[in-house]
């Protein structure tokens, strides 16, 4: 089938090396510096707080929001992370997850709202989201390294790309699911577009939006692990080391810590979504 020669690989590299990096490199450096600053300060903060305090906080939160079983699980799980001596790695992973999730939400929810209100925007956004979710993550890990270098910032960017779609999609869905008659009533009473959004659509869509946030956090966690391949510190790199040294035990320990974090984050945010419903 080689009728035509399509040197997409060469073109892409030419584009990236000759134009993208030299021209936009400075711009990306600024982004990179800012993200680094945020990431480092959050990481430092999480590492500065004694593990016991963080554990108490998370256990308390689980108790209040979910119940005593979850609180017990959190306590045992976090004790486990401390016992296998991976607390610092877990906090680094958590820092990447938190920063990426915050970016995903800040950008994802407004885009979701916008695409719920305009079918035109929806038509444009939807394939972009498909692209972000289905493109193998390694493909954008490469240019990310080029632009942001190896380390946490690239991990945040890659995680952001991977974890934003559910925030957009579920915000869009949530707002579109608000009953037509409710929206009509709000219009009939003379609501402005902003009042419609803030007083009717957003509050009614909140449970669905929170489900999106929950998905975003879980995807961020799974991506933060993959991102260890581009030098992100944390639990992922522990697992990666386990793989490269064929050290089954190390892989298992790192993997279990990730599971513990995932379950705690999932249950807590899921319950927050459920409460928004009431």
């Amino acid at each position: 089938m080689h009728y035509f020669d399509l040197p997409l690989e060469e073109w892409t590299n030419l584009f990236i090396n000759e134009w993208f990096v030299p021209v936009l490199g400075g711009f990306f450096d600024i982004i990179s510096d800012n993200i680094t600053a945020i990431l480092v300060s959050i990481e430092d903060f999480l590492l500065w707080i004694p593990p016991e305090i963080i554990t108490l906080f998370l256990v308390g939160l689980a108790w209040r929001l979910v119940g005593w079983r979850m609180a017990l699980f959190s306590a045992i799980g976090l004790l486990f992370i401390g016992s296998v001596d991976l607390w610092d790695e877990a906090m680094r992973t958590l820092a990447i997850v938190l920063v990426a999730t915050v970016f995903s939400i800040i950008i994802g929810i407004p885009v979701g709202i916008w695409s719920a209100r305009s079918s035109m925007v929806d038509k444009i956004v939807r394939p972009i989201l498909d692209f972000m979710q289905t493109l193998p993550s390694f493909v954008y890990l490469i240019p990310t390294i080029l632009l942001f270098g190896i380390g946490g910032v690239s991990a945040v960017i890659a995680t952001f790309i991977f974890a934003t779609p559910p925030a957009v999609r579920l915000t869009n869905l949530g707002i579109r699911q608000v009953p037509e008659e409710t929206v009509e009533a709000a219009r009939a009473f003379g609501s402005s577009s902003w009042q419609m959004l803030t007083k009717v659509q957003f509050p009614l869509a909140l449970p669905t939006i929170m489900a999106g946030v929950n998905q975003t956090i879980l995807l961020a966690l799974s991506m933060a692990v993959i991102a260890s391949m581009i030098g992100a510190p944390g639990l992922g790199s522990v697992v990666l080391t386990g793989i490269s040294r064929v050290n089954v035990g190390l892989g298992l320990v790192g993997g279990l810590c990730i599971v513990v974090l995932a379950i705690i984050l999932d249950r807590i945010t899921q319950t927050m979504g459920g409460q928004a419903e009431k």
């Binding site: 009953p179 008659e181 409710t182 009509e184 009533a185 709000a186 219009r187 009939a188 009473f189 003379g190 609501s191 402005s192 009042q195 007083k199 009717v200 509050p203 009614l204």
Partner: protein
């Protein structure tokens, strides 16, 4: 002056409404336009006026375009052609902001499926219209509480809509529209989703409220019984067109075409219906406090030529005719002696067929009396509507 004026209002659903509009003006029917262009004529050149304080009912079966028509009035649906004048101002010429103001200040709306805000309490639901106008919290809460009280829902302020029954939810819907203190109420099949007994109760309460508030009401229904009961005037719609406008009596006695007459024809129900089932709430004058002038004003308002007079205990004292009232003013008299007594009475359980003979000969309404107290009155139209339609709750 008429409060709402609708001129040649048309709505065509489809990609090229102007083309269909041209066809419509050339005399093509709804079906022809649908088969030729694939576009649906929702409302076909509807024209009518609603006067201030009038209860105007638009009646039609599903698909007749009545719900579309009411949404064209406040532009929830954008009209294709025509004019809607609210207090003489054309809403179709308004920009977004002016339209928003009209919706806030002039048009309250009640919906068939209530359309309450499920995340807000009853009080917050009722407050909504005032809240978005930026009315301070204290003031809007007070108005909302008044509206809630007027529909009899005190004590439910802090509940959420889903905790209430359908009838109560619609009371909230009504209170929400009342709280804005708009002159006009648009009611889209407001009682159609309620079961018959609750529906009758709501109809009665709406009439009582209307006596106090004198809103201009545009009420949509598919139920002729409801239309006859509530409406000062009724417009009947078919396939997007208004086929007849008239008072309930005109609709019953002079149906404009076969379509209308199929609505009004029914079996002889005179043997099963009782006076209490067809009587309506009387307009009365209180002997101990109202004077002849009040009596005349009430008669003018209701367009009637006589009115029943009662005492403090609602005991029927007699009938006051407009002539007697005028004499009373001239001669400065006001007392029981000017009332006439030769009107017909019936008890609440008199069968309707016994009343038909009386109704055709007497020139006054029949008083329905129990233990000397006036319970209701029966006019010719209520017998007719009873005969042709019956009551839902039987």
């Amino acid at each position: 002056m008429s409060k709402i004026q609708v001129k040649e209002l048309t709505k065509i659903f489809g990609p090229n409404p102007q083309k269909a509009l041209q066809l419509l003006q050339d005399g093509a029917g709804k079906d022809k336009i649908l088969s030729e262009t694939g576009m649906t004529v929702g409302v076909d050149r509807a024209s009518f006026e609603v006067n201030e304080g009038e209860f105007f009912v638009i009646m039609g079966l599903s698909g007749s375009g009545k719900s579309t028509l009411i949404r064209l009035i406040n532009r929830l649906i954008e009209p294709t052609a025509g004019e809607v004048l609210i207090d003489g101002e054309n809403t179709l010429a308004m920009d977004k902001k002016a339209l928003m103001t009209v919706r806030r200040k002039k048009l309250g709306m009640v919906f068939q499926r209530f359309a309450l805000f499920p995340h807000r309490t009853i009080l917050q639901n009722v407050e909504y219209g005032l809240e978005i106008q930026g009315v301070p919290k204290g003031e809007r809460e007070e108005k909302a509480r008044q509206a809630i009280e007027s529909v009899g829902l005190n004590g439910y302020e802090e509940q959420k809509p889903h905790q209430l029954s359908g009838g109560m939810q619609q009371r909230v819907g009504l209170a929400r529209a009342l709280a804005n203190e708009t002159d006009i109420l648009l009611m889209d099949e407001a009682f159609s989703a309620l079961d018959p007994l609750i529906r009758k109760e709501m109809q009665d309460e709406l009439l009582t409220l209307q006596e106090k508030l004198h809103k201009t009401v545009l009420f949509i229904t598919h139920d002729l019984d409801e239309a006859l009961k509530l409406g000062d005037r009724i417009a009947i719609m078919k396939a997007g067109k208004i086929v007849q406008i008239g008072s309930p009596e005109e609709i019953l006695t002079e149906p404009a075409n076969e379509y209308v007459s199929t609505f009004v024809k029914d079996v002889d129900r005179s043997k099963v219906l009782l006076a209490s089932q067809v009587m309506k709430k009387p307009d009365v004058v209180a002997l101990w406090k109202d004077g002849a002038r009040v009596a005349i004003r009430k008669m003018v308002e209701k367009e009637i030529s006589s009115i029943f007079v009662v005492d403090k205990e609602q005991r029927l004292k007699g009938l006051l005719t407009v002539e007697a009232a005028l004499d009373a003013i001239r001669e400065k008299r006001w007392g029981e002696e000017i009332l006439i007594q030769d009107f017909s009475t019936a008890s609440p359980d008199t069968p309707l067929h016994e009343l038909i003979g009386i109704a055709t000969t007497t020139k006054y309404p029949i008083a329905v009396v129990e233990d000397g107290k006036l319970k209701g009155i029966i006019v010719r139209v209520s017998i007719l509507s009873g005969l042709t339609l019956g009551k839902k709750e039987e």
